[in-house]
């Protein structure tokens, strides 16, 4: 769900950056005695770490730092410690190739993590492909990256995959036949809604109406009337919590108690705040939920909260998983040889990540289960069915 438009939060101060880099170098460089003879293995990390869109990169970094700390404490990889070579791409596609060349030239680096923007990943991809350096990205969702290169993998689900999975869940687990779709007029909303519509139709259902809306719309009265006119079994919203909250309120204002489902853009505590009592019973999905009580997720949330004194975001969880997959791939390959590591990553099957089981399809896209959640008593509760 990450496009430039998404990122609206987090003004990052230089202080925060300094603090972060200081703490990461202290964490990874400090305990050299755990490593083996050859010294530490540097992992490449590039993302947008400054400016308005820095929050995703910084959250990924938190997940990666935690994973590296744990792996090193546990004896490292191939008896060597892991360290992180972080480079800020400033969100500029022009920086993609420059950073790619830098990582490629450092023969020590076996794998690259991170990426905040699809555009930056795309611009650097030819160079990574040329030197055979594998990437495990955790926030870029553009369909253009699907199968774009043999060395590209991502732990984040694409918008299309999410839409299709949501359609499957709603038609199979909820028995919904007729759905009214409302979606945000941009790459994210349209990507989700198109795949969702296709999925519903494939399952034998119908989409009674499909309406787009602009970000920032507040009055949905007539839009909601159109959606409810055909008496649908459910309403699906592909968009952010800001508009989803208002749609939910206005559907209930219209006197309808139709079940409502929403995409991961609404899987935010702010959605519950905006929709209040009307949020009850709404079902959403996301790649990761901090309220998931699977042993992996629970242990991660505990460790993360202890280290950073806050709940982990999806981005932190997906980057944490990417780091572990990289470590496992190096162990499987038995070396830090780029080609061998790439092969091992591609062969990842059912890896027990904190965001659920992780496998990659032949396009490098994440395959696995979304975490579906229902809002009960003002909190997200993970649905287990």
């Amino acid at each position: 769900m990450l496009s430039k438009r998404t990122a609206k939060l987090a003004v990052v101060t230089g202080v925060a950056l300094l603090a972060l880099s200081a703490c990461s170098s202290g964490g990874s460089g400090g305990n050299g005695d755990g490593g083996g003879a050859e010294g530490a293995i540097p992992l490449g990390y590039t993302a947008t770490l400054s400016g308005d869109f820095a929050s995703y990169g910084l959250e990924m970094r938190e997940g990666i730092d935690l994973a590296i700390e744990e792996i090193n404490a546990d004896g490292g990889v191939l008896d060597r410690d892991l360290t992180l070579e972080g480079v800020d791409d400033e969100g500029k596609p022009a920086n993609g190739p420059v950073i790619a060349q830098e990582f490629c030239d450092n023969a020590e680096i076996p794998v690259v993590l991170g990426f905040s923007f699809s555009s930056v990943a795309l611009s650097g991809l030819p160079i990574y492909t040329q030197c055979g350096l594998p990437i495990i990205a955790s926030a870029v969702t553009s369909p253009e990256l699907s199968g774009a290169s043999d060395i590209f993998f991502r732990t984040v689900f694409t918008d299309a995959y999410q839409g299709a999975e949501a359609a499957k869940f709603i038609s199979e687990n909820r028995g919904v036949k007729k759905v009214a779709v409302l979606y945000q007029q941009d790459d994210y909303g349209k990507g989700v809604a198109d795949a969702f519509t296709e999925g519903i139709e494939k399952a034998g259902g119908t989409v009674t109406s499909s309406q787009a809306y602009q970000l920032g719309t507040v009055n949905f009265a007539s839009t909601v009337d159109t959606a409810l006119k055909d008496d649908p079994d459910a309403v699906f919203i592909g968009g952010f919590y800001t508009e989803a909250g208002k749609i939910v309120n206005q559907v209930r204002d219209a006197g309808s108690d139709v079940p409502i489902f929403a995409s991961d853009g609404a899987a935010s505590p702010l959605f519950i705040e905006l929709a209040g009592a009307n949020a009850e019973g709404v079902e959403v999905y996301s790649a990761f939920s901090a309220s998931d009580d699977s042993p992996e997720a629970a242990a991660f949330v505990e460790a993360f909260t202890k280290k950073y004194d806050k709940e982990p975001s999806s981005w932190a969880a997906l980057a944490y998983d990417a780091t572990y997959i990289a470590a496992q791939a190096m162990e499987t390959a038995g070396s830090t040889d780029r080609a061998a590591v790439t092969k091992a990553i591609a062969a990842t099957k059912g890896f027990p990540g904190v965001s659920g089981e992780i496998s990659f399809d032949d396009q490098g896209n994440r395959v696995g289960n979304l975490t579906f959640q229902r809002i009960e008593d003002g909190a997200f509760v993970v649905i287990k069915e």
Binding site: V218, L270, G276
Partner: protein, 301 residues
């Protein structure tokens, strides 16, 4: 029918804000873009005043937790005060400057206020508890939300009261005289600066009321909430005939309703409602350049 009802409440809010634009334009001949932000400060002010715990610039402090009526008064006072301040600090020194300087200053003030609000209250939308009023009413087969009735009634009442002030009170007469001819008004012993100040305070109060209604109706307040309604209200004011109070209000209603009609009757209209609504307005202005209820301006030589 249903669409018209769906659009009337938000139209009333646009209308109220449009009256603020209209009256300041009448007096100063300039567009005070900052009304969108005063709209926002009215809503955010009332929200904050009603809370027991406020997050300001990421610091948590105890809120005054005023009762609802007092919180609303607080929002109004904050909005009016900001209106008075910006006129005093930003616009008065430019009284004899070219109109473009004032326009640019107005844009700067608007951006500054938005940045201040983002700094103080963050960029996220803050939830505003929506009043519990019960089920929608059914009037001749159309569904009418109770809150819409209240919003529209308040908007009409406030506009009428404002119109009465302008029409029948001494200060109203002074405002009209200033709008007519500033120099002549000054020669007749009217304190033009004081009149302009008063106009800003009254206009800002209207904008703040509009913001309050908006946040109650849609259940949120945010630093950026005033931008789009401000733009639409400005268009509504032009549509109704800028300078005319009933015109501005009617312009707001027409805009609110045409948005809903566009969303409902045009294929994929919900995505392009603004484009369609603004298109309609362009056509109306083409047919009636002076606006719906405006007078044709005669340029005296």
């Amino acid at each position: 029918m249903q669409e018209i009802i769906n659009g009337l409440a938000v139209g009333g809010i646009y209308g109220l804000l449009a009256v603020a634009f209209s009256v300041v334009y009448g007096v100063l001949g300039m567009v005070n873009f900052a009304f969108g932000e005063i709209f926002m400060f009215g809503a955010v002010g009332a929200l904050v005043a009603g809370q027991t715990n406020i997050l300001i610039a990421d610091a948590s402090i105890d809120g005054p937790a005023l009762p609802a009526w007092a919180a609303i008064m607080f929002g109004l006072i904050v909005g009016s005060l900001i209106g008075w301040l910006i006129e005093r600090i930003a616009y008065r020194p430019l009284r004899n400057a070219p109109i473009l300087s004032m326009l640019i200053t107005a844009i700067a003030v608007s951006m500054l206020l938005r940045a201040v609000a983002t700094f103080l209250f963050g960029a996220a939308q803050l939830p505003v508890p929506r009043p519990e009023l019960g089920e929608a009413l059914n009037i001749f087969g159309a569904r009418v939300q109770r809150i819409d009735v209240i919003v529209l009634a308040v908007a009409v009442a406030v506009t009428l009261a404002f119109w009465a002030v302008i029409r029948f009170t001494p200060i109203g007469r002074a405002i009209r005289a200033t709008a007519e001819n500033k120099d002549a008004a000054r020669l007749m012993g009217i304190g033009v600066d004081r009149v302009i100040s008063t106009t800003f305070v009254l206009g800002s109060a209207l904008a703040a009321v509009a913001g309050l209604l908006y946040s109650q109706r849609y259940g949120f307040a945010a630093a950026t909430m005033g931008f789009l309604p401000g733009l639409k209200a400005l268009v509504a004011a032009v549509l109704g005939g800028i300078g005319s109070i009933p015109g501005a209000f009617v312009g707001g209603l027409v805009l609110g309703v045409s948005e809903e009609l566009a969303a409902s009757y045009v294929p994929q209209g919900s995505a392009y409602r603004d484009v369609i609504a603004f298109g309609i307005l362009v056509i109306i202005l083409w047919l009636r350049p002076q606006g719906l209820l405006g007078r044709r301006e005669v340029q005296k030589v």
